[in-house]
Amino acid sequence: MGILRSKFFISVALFAAVSSLFAITKLGNIAPTDFPIHTWTGWAVEDFLSDKQGRPQFVFLGSSLVLVPVSGVDADYLKHPIDGSHHHQSQYFEDQFKKQSGMQVKTFNFGLPGEMPSDAFLITKFLLKGEKRPDVIVYGVGPRDFMDNLLPSPAATDPYQYLSRFGDVSSHRHLIAPEWDQRLNLELGQLFYSYGHNYDLSVSSQRLATTALNELLPAPKTDKPFTINDRRVLFPLYKPMEIASKEAYFRPTTPKERTFDNSNMVEYKKRYSHLNWRTFTHQMKFLADLMSTARDRGTQVILISMPITDLNRDLLEKGTWDSYKKSLKVLAQSKGASYIDLGDSKQFALSDFMDTVHLHSGGGMKLLDILAEKAAQDRRVMSALDATNSSIAGLKGGQL
């Protein structure tokens, strides 16, 4: 029997044909803005693209290093709990910047838990453009963003899962899938629609199954319906990144309530151990591409080396802190970005942190004060704002 008579190879050929048919008909395709699971990413993207947001002048990018203090500050400032799934601005920064520059700006906080420079690049490339192009991107980074060795690849983050659906990432495939098996996975996805679009197809079929089951076996009426909280107890590992509306609140705190906890040292020790230079250089490349993309669109980038504690910095392998700082500085210079180095700044004490890396709302307020002042003094920032705003008051000039 020759290969042409092999049932298996005929099946493979037919499977390829069926898969192509799926691709032509775009079977089960769901829009990138359709979020079957709402995670921090989903809420933020949905909010950003909504008409009510308009065009923000400032967009904040970063991981929880940015999200936590910026949102925490607003809870204190506005004196009420703020819903993390819906509150994506920095009211405090807007007011502080107005004080410093006389200019009313609109902000959008795109800080997401676990956001890597690769994710920030995708946000910039796919979302911060056209009518939604901001004048200024404020990107707060920490060493973890470049040295997280627990992360198998840039494609493994929650933001990537959703952001990569907004456009073509093939130009960066060598960075997204650095290992051979990750690359193979990516290529197989390109080759077979049913594999490459398996998320869409499985979501669509689940929706169909749910509709059919709801018709066939409707949920019996009870006094106590099953909630997302009940589900979390039963299946803690199912949809772990999902957050419901009004579930994650940043609450106002008093200085007394802001305590320091160093228990995340163990986690960071693992993240930093055996530094993978490839992860470091790849993430730096994403940062460079983010800056280039922004520059080409006339958006000014303010890169902040976020403050972290000495305790956390001491966990880094020898020489890596210097490499990290030097790379940020060189990159910012070469791409025309403004650079604020607060990494080991004496302006921040241990009492400004809630753990070894995250500023609490008190520390966050200090950070936003510095940022508002420096941004208002930065000619390039003000020029970027000037290009789209006719009335600028209080331009003080000078570089950061």
Partner: protein, 483 residues
Amino acid sequence: MLFNSLQYLVFLPTVFLLFWLTPHRFRVPLLLVASYVFYMSWKPLYGLLIFGLTLANFLLVPFIEKATVHKKLILGITVAINLITLGIFKYAYFTMDAVKTTLGFAGVDWKEPHLHIILPLGISFFVFEFIHYAIEVYRGKAVVKNFLDFALFPSFFPTQIAGPIKRYQDFVPQLHIPVKFKWEYVDEGMQLILMGLAKKVLIADNLALVVQAGFAHADQFSPLDMWMITYAFAFQIFFDFAGYTDIARGSSLLLGYKVPINFNLPYIASNISDFWRRWHISLSTWLRDYLFIPLGGSRGSKWMTYRNLFITMALGGLWHGAAFHYLAWGAYQGVVLIAHREYEAAMQKIGVHEKLLKSKVYHWASVVFTFHVVCIGWVFFRADDMKIAGQVLSKLFEAPGALLHFSAAQLAVLQIRDPIIFPALVLILPVLMVSTFVINWMNDKKFYQSPPWAVQVTVMVALMCLLTIFTPDSSPRFIYFQF
């Protein structure tokens, strides 16, 4: 390296191509290297363990063959070396826990040492293959003279991690047959692999979600829910392990080798003895040949037979894992096997009409009853400890009362709409049960021996589509990998 991983998707075709391009005399060394690569991709150091045991058995067992005196002693030493190795890696913590508890009763507070032992994958399987080899040589079978042939026997990558437990008399002679490539190997092998992956990924992994929640939070579910969750586990473990076995058999077949089947529709067994002739066949026959029979088998009195049966099944339970709930599962199997023998004897004594025993109604009632007896056993197997097993069992036994005032509102599985597998369970479980009987009927009609060409191709294409769509990014390990 997992069967359901991209690494295996590259590894298997590579080995397949090299194997068929290599002259026959180099195939065993090639497979040996491939098998060690497969094993050491997990923990390279443990390659030394399997190699060390292979070498020890290869050197020691010929002494059993040659010995005229102390033959039994040499066999004992060989078996002991294998069992001690298994004991150290698998039962050290369990033994220390048991000692600590016992000493605790005597008021002694013993601080047990921390040993940092990680259970080597597949150790229970290859140790049993070594013991089988030693005992068979003791019984008069020939030794394997070629070290490479012998080394490939336990390490053969398709069966290395979770069996089936091979017999060297069946496996080693196949290595010497200069097999020529046939496309049938690819067709049949790939059909088995696709079928195995579907069993694992599409069925077992989805049911796992229900089972995990049910056994971790039995208090959140009604007695009728718990029965459904227990049924779900019965199918989960079957499809998980049968899926693994299909992939192992399919992978072997791609290389022209045949390994034994492990399952024969276990849930249509009409009694517990029948079940054990259909479930994990390579283990149950091993236990029969190398534990039950050496203990005396059925040769002694009724009570001695029962003792042997109980010990065999209890140790069989412990083989699955170093925990009391596995021991309890094995003991339960022993007890129900004994009860079944007593029941049969009683039926004969009473003189129940043979026509009734052979009637279809009695047969199907027996199938349903046996399935439920097996399901109760699965509770011990699946529960993380005896306390949880107790909680689940007490829920199950409340079911008759719950049935008396049944309402759909009692069913938590219908309340939980996400994940969708919960309400779907009400439809899936009957389908799985009925499909067992349909497959049995098709087997009787010999449909599987020559299914129409178009059916085979359609099934393969459908499986490829389903697997590419529904394979999650990370699938749980096969259950039997832990043993």
